[in-house]
Amino acid sequence: MKTLIKRAALATMIGLSTPTLASVAYVSNEKDNTLSVIDTETQKVIETIDVGQRPRGILLSKDYTKLYICASDDDTVQVLDLATRKIVDTLPSGEDPEQFALHPNNKHLYIANEDDAIVTVVDVDSKEVLAQIDVGIEPEGMAVSPNGKWAVNTSETTSMLHWINTETFEIEKNIVVGQRPRHVEFSKDSKTAWASAEIGGTVHIIDVENLEQIHEMSFKVPGVNQDRVQPVGIELTSDGKYAFVALGPSNHVAVVDAKTYEVLDYLLVGARVWQLDLDKDETHLYTTNGVSGDVSVINLEDMKVIKSIKVGRYPWGVVIDPTS
């Protein structure tokens, strides 16, 4: 009896203390319909939150008060209040939302609707659908440039980058890249965009001013069959020094010199590494490993994998709250 009370008290204490104390990472578990909350200090899962069906893309509001979640099989975007860690609202999203990106105005959410070949733009305050833009088959990756000028969508089967003008909501340019483009990441100065092509095995670096490819990277992981080298997630350090590329079923993350495009190292992480995020002081990189169901933590100081954290089944996205 005594232990029971003790345990209950302890649980209450933990329950109360977590939202304010630690720096946290949120991980969406595609086949568990949950989010894992990781304390980045202790590198342990401190909470598992039930969310909608097949959660994939997740992102933070610009004021870091909310987390948006693509609940793909519920055809909706859920809004998680970070203070209480409760789902407080849903947004119209179009069918099968997979990835999305928030405009710097903190209002316009660009959602890739994978099954419908459209990008839906939603005003997160009024919940109004502002536009639906026809794109290629299986729109997947979504990014908005930090200066707010461009929204870019990748369509996997069409193998294109669609450049959407964020004022007119119209496509201004289509760039054909390698097969199955998955993800786009802008440099912090909005001057370059990095796009990964999963089946092509390439990363394409686009000069944003001229909307032209300036470089194409490929990867060779020692001892891994070339067709298992499949770039997906990309993360760039804000000092412009490094790029990290998740190489899917090769189970490695490439460390790239972001200026020379030279691959500096390949780091072994969990199985089928998908998405990446840096912590707030950019000393650690977190990777979601879909098949092994864990998150690997890379220390940027010596570029070593220092920890793997068990999460739910098929972890898809990861974001770290820099204010926590």
Binding site: I137, T157, T158, S159, G200
Partner: protein, 390 residues
């Protein structure tokens, strides 16, 4: 005179410069032909095969091509014919040829395919999305014939690798009476040799009883042997094979054309974005996507992928592109698919499935190949007499 010719030359240059603009509207027409001979009465007719298997896959790929094409000024149209007889299929092919079509996807038996290829002429490209016969990949190749349907040997090699890595290497083989059954069983014999399997019993299926009443009595006796690790069934049309699982003499798994099967495609395949393809197909066809649909889809998508890059629908240019380093097809199997340059076969992983789940996916780790691990499935270059690219 010289002024005139200079003007003419200028005109030509102007036209040539204007061409890329005009060429932005490229109309691509693809022909789809299907002829499936009557399979004859089968014992297991509980779940009928769809009549439009193949056609719907081609249609979906046309939609996919068109969506890409609209950003590039390319339009696609499919002319399809599902024939009742071989003559009707050949007549439909000739009509399409006369109307100017030169890109074809064919889902028909090997003999029909051969007739069509002979009639086709040089400037035509045909994709075999139906016939699995190994002979089409080992000796009877044709320069303008590509295969998106895997061969029997690719399927049985996938099964052979799996049995090998499970160490289930003593098998009991039951072979049905049809040509296709023999083709499958011959391929399995070859796979058994390649992957160190021992066929402890090799029995032809000769019973003609209705197994829905008597399977439980007849099959245990039929599968009596001192020991085996698995029963392998070669029953391509699905006549008796469905009644073998759970009715074997020894408590052993059943694999092959029934039980756990190596297939081109199946509704249980969902990784690598396949869930999206399955959803798109279901929405279009109102049923699940099967192997014939997938073979037709990969054929039409191969054409589309080439045209996206080439902005030309010339069969010769497409053929060159498909055999070049530039071509790679993203086709929801977790690897880029390419064509074997000796026999025109599309390399691809082979899922091993049971009716409600994915068991494994060949090729398996540990089966090595100097060029592509996918070439551990089917007839590799040294084993095939074909050299369609010289």
């Amino acid at each position: 005179m010289s002024f005139l010719s200079r003007t003419a030359a200028t005109l030509l240059i102007t036209m040539a410069a204007a061409c890329p603009l005009q060429a932005e509207s490229l109309d691509v027409r693809i022909g789809y032909l299907q002829w499936i001979p009557d399979q004859g009465p089968v014992l297991s007719n509980v779940i009928p095969e769809p009549d439009d298997a193949g056609l719907r896959g081609a249609e979906l790929a046309m939609n996919d091509n068109s969506t890409t094409g609209k950003f590039l000024g390319q339009t696609y149209s499919l002319q399809s014919d599902v024939a009742d007889t071989e003559e009707a299929a050949i007549a439909a092919f000739e009509t399409m040829r006369e109307s100017g079509l030169d890109l074809f996807v064919v889902n028909a038996p090997a003999s029909t395919l051969k007739t069509l290829t002979e009639k086709a002429g040089d400037n035509t490209l045909i994709f075999n999305a139906g016939a699995k016969d190994d002979a089409l990949r080992t000796g009877q190749c044709h320069v303008n014939l590509l295969h998106t349907m895997p061969s029997y040997s690719m399927l049985t090699d996938a099964l052979g690798q799996w049995l090998n890595q499970r160490r289930w290497d003593e098998v009991f083989l039951i072979t049905g009476p049809t040509e296709a059954d023999k083709g499958w069983a011959d391929a399995f014999h070859r796979s058994a040799k390649r992957f160190g399997l021992e066929i402890v019993e090799d029995k032809p299926w000769t019973f003609d009883a209705d197994l829905r009443r008597t399977a439980s009595k007849e099959l245990p006796l039929f599968t009596q042997a001192s020991d085996y690790d698995a029963v392998v069934v070669a029953d391509v049309r699905g006549d008796f094979g469905e009644y073998v699982p759970f009715n074997t003499w020894l408590p052993r798994p059943v694999v092959g054309t029934q039980g756990m099967s190596p297939v081109t495609w199946h509704r249980v395949v969902e990784s690598w974005g396949a869930a999206q393809l399955q959803n798109r197909f279901r929405e279009l066809a109102g049923r699940d996507m099967n192997s014939e649909d997938y073979a037709a889809w990969t054929a039409v998508r191969s054409i589309g992928t080439a045209i996206t890059d080439l902005n030309s629908a010339s069969p010769a240019e497409i053929r060159n592109y498909l055999f070049s380093d530039k071509f790679q097809l993203a086709a929801f199997k977790g690897r880029k698919l390419t064509f074997r340059d000796w026999n025109g076969q599309l390399r691809q992983p082979i899922p091993l499935v049971h009716p409600r789940g994915l068991v494994a996916r060949a090729p398996f780790e540990g089966f090595l190949h100097p060029n592509s691990q996918m070439d551990t499935l089917g007839f590799d270059r040294p084993e095939s007499e074909c050299r369609i690219n010289g």
